[in-house]
Amino acid sequence: MSDRPVDVRIKDFREVDCGLSSAEAVAEAERCLQCKKPLCVTGCPVCIDIPAFIREIAESNFSAAARALKEQNMLPAICGRVCPQETQCEGVCILGNKETPIRIGALERFVADWGRENDPSLPETAKPTGKRVAVVGSGPAGLTAAAELARAGHAVTIFESLHEAGGVLTYGIPAFRLPKDVVKAEVEQVLALGARLKKNHLVGRSVGVDELLGYDAVFLATGAGLPAFMGIPGENKNGVYSANEFLTRVNLMHAEAFPEFDTPVLHGARVAVIGGGNVAMDSARVARRLGAKVSLIYRRGEEEMPARKAEVLHAKEEGIEFFTCTNPTQILGEQCVTGIECVKMSLCGLDASGRPSPEPIEGSEFTLDVDMAIQAIGTSPNPLLVSLIPGLERGWKGNVVVDENGRTSIPHVYAGGDIATGAATVIEAMGSAKRAAAAIDAMLKGE
């Protein structure tokens, strides 16, 4: 497994990580101890039988491995690429105590890619139950719930407001980390299980709330799509983007290929990206590929960055300049951005989130000359639909309040993913969707 050379990869949007060859995969799988009580499975939010699929790889039974994987996870090629394995399955792998843990993510990706090319077989689906389920949103949570419920024999309709399915997998994560043909293929697999997809349908607007609540069960997976802005002066100047907008223009609308594609995006010469999460790294690396010199501004230290270590490393390799313990205070310029004023921060005490609390250092102000700024400081639950459903209880952050099985305050309405949890990872969204799907299935079968 290797990454493509930096000087080549920053000129295109093709995948950075080349993945494992079959020989490498078999060799890696052979290292697995096949623990009697595998910790890796407990570390997996969707409870994949990890030792089982790894055993099949070790014996070069790639088809069997792919089938074993799909039993628990219909989006394996996506998870193999974007899950933070280092804090999940790989983080608890017993081999990690002495040497390096098994590269479970890389093996998952290998098997999923192999299966996509060579064995498109699908898990069995139950006989039709005659029950109708509406899934709102086709991101990781929606797709997972749709797959589980379709397998259980329910008539599933997925509503998606955009012209492509996939939610954040399509508009948010860049192709160099998650190729769009991989997303398309896994969406197709979910549809092949019998789920119907209605694109261009914004529930609450194109589909009435009454119509929605007329389904036997509803699963809300509308995500955390609402971008946060810092609220500093100058942020409506031309050249200031939310990460959502910048990434959507490129990932969904292919603005990198303008004018071949009709959607434009500004190509800054010097771009500031504000934030320290995966979305900030993605934004920085996209801007780099559009030709910019990129400065990443984060108010805490590198240790505190919520981004995956691998993504921080990739960003640094690609020449992204890091300004840590730095906070923007103002965006400068007349109509267009000409600079960003920042202040250095010192880390003292711990804040409510248990992380060091950054405080501005007086007199440490400085200005970065930039012509574009991208704010990647988080998103919150999309309020559009959930605010239209009478009686749906919401938390103070606007999230839908659910129990551990995704039940909301309305009996046949469930929710999962970021709309319930607030912004989190793809795999956590999938885990919550899987639990909710099991609860929906039990409810529909009258258990």
């Binding site: 261009n200 914004l202 031309n238 050249g239 004018p259 594609f261």
Partner: protein
Amino acid sequence: MYTIELATRLADRVYEYWIRAPQVAQHARAGQFLIVRLHKKGERIPLTISAVRGDAVRVIFMAVGKTTEELATLGAGDSISDVVGPLGKPSEIENYGTCCVIGGGVGIASTPLIAKELKEAGNHVIGIIGARSADLLILEDEMREICDELYITTDDGSKGVHGFAADVLKKLLEERKIDRVWIIGPAIMMKVTSGATVPYGVKTYVSLNPIMVDGTGMCGSCRVTVGGETKFACVDGPEFDAHQVDFNELMQRQRIYTTQEKESLERFAEHRCRCGEGGHHHE
């Protein structure tokens, strides 16, 4: 795919399309818009919903950019890849008393639905529609049918009052009590016209038209400053209290991609010349 059922040229560069989009037509209300994407390489552009008939919605647009120029080459029977809507909040329709609905240029497209719903709510509805010249004036008959009174203005005096909608509005405000005003048109026209109602304290709505991508509140491209707060026109609007809107910022943000828009349009025009594609098949 969404089929264009009827395509008509209304004026120079101004077109009226009826598009079959049941999920939009069944839910559309006055003041809302839809987003179209012509094909897989297309951009997403917002267009006001101008009327509804059965499963079809009407949009009226002026061919000024690459996407609208390309849309204008289509005709009845052709298809559009994507249509999503209705988007945005509906107009705040109530029985206010006397309401004035003003459309400028292609912005007149939005006025019939608003005027119609206001009329149905029991209002006395005054329409003012204005254009640069008589040949660019659209929907006159339709508005005359809906409104209790209709005034026409042209910049060059070729029809109706020689002047601007703001002039007629000022005169009306001097003469009688107006309870609510709607103004839809180019940003500069909405800015100037809504200034007329400030001294009278008449609540005035404008329909903002910033650049959008998703149209569902996800990207923030359409953010506008209203009453000192950032709002997303796609979900918080598109109609806002005119007296609170920062029009200068709106106009500044409408110019973000001026260079790219020009490039794209020129490339399209060149392509059309090369392909020898001349006219379009409108009625």
